[in-house]
Symmetry: C2
Subunit: 120 residues, 2 copies
DNA sequence: TCCATATTTCAACGAATATTGAAATGATTG
DNA sequence: CAATCATTTCAATATTCGTTGAAATATGGA
């Protein structure tokens, strides 16, 4: 992951409603949730929610697929892993005695191959 | 960690220069770096840097101590751990078969007890 | 005390952001 | 095809943010 992408991801998460949306999707898992369900659950106006979904998607933090008239949003765990890897990259000068590399949530379902390594 | 603190930490990191500063401090480890060294390393004006340090500190991401006429800034690894814990909290509905809890960089030096558990 | 170094404070400006309201698009059902 | 539901697009507004420049504070040495 590069600086620009990391900033984008962090900026996308650095907002009350978006963070709530993202965490909801993280908890929902790979299956995702319909936009309407998220709106109802968090009490957000549909257009406001679209705006936030858009930012999360532009940052690569979520995916969308259409199911009938609903749009299903799901968290992208690989991006979260990359972000955490970027934040803790070369931690403490890479001294293995001082630092341990980070690893975040992995769905391990409906997403077969997913490398644990993220060298920035 | 609570929502407000998480948003504050994410917002603090969601900016090019601040993210660069923070990563530099992460790599510097618990010993930290003088403000001037950071400024020189990143080519930032001293007052601009103070502004950014202030935001990082307000978010609990760094600490400061004075050493002579220099101010030594250091990353707070515990906050990073809490943040990662918050982001991945109850991942995939808490289904242990699908998700593994996250753990970030731990200095393990000059910072003895540090719980791995962060239940938000 | 006087001077140089290191960092902070203050005021100001242009740019970006979140929310709102109304209208439009796309998909399903009868 | 008409009606309805789910979501998106567009324009407008108030707020927040990052950077700059000049001046102030604090520490250490001659």
């Amino acid at each position: 992951m590069e600086q620009t992408d990391a900033v984008a991801a962090l900026a996308a998460l650095a907002q009350d409603n978006r963070l709530a949306v993202y965490r909801l999707l993280v908890q929902a898992g790979p299956e995702g949730m319909a936009a309407g369900s998220v709106a109802e659950r968090l009490g957000l106006a549909p257009n406001t929610l679209t705006f936030h979904f858009d930012r999360l998607r532009a940052a690569g933090l979520v995916t969308v697929r259409r199911d009938g008239r609903s749009m299903i949003y799901a968290a992208r765990f690989d991006t979260m892993n990359s972000l955490i890897g970027y934040l803790t990259d070369n931690c403490c000068g890479g001294n293995p005695a001082q630092c341990a590399p980070a690893a975040a949530c992995k769905p391990a379902i409906k997403r077969a191959k997913q490398r644990t390594k993220q060298t920035a």
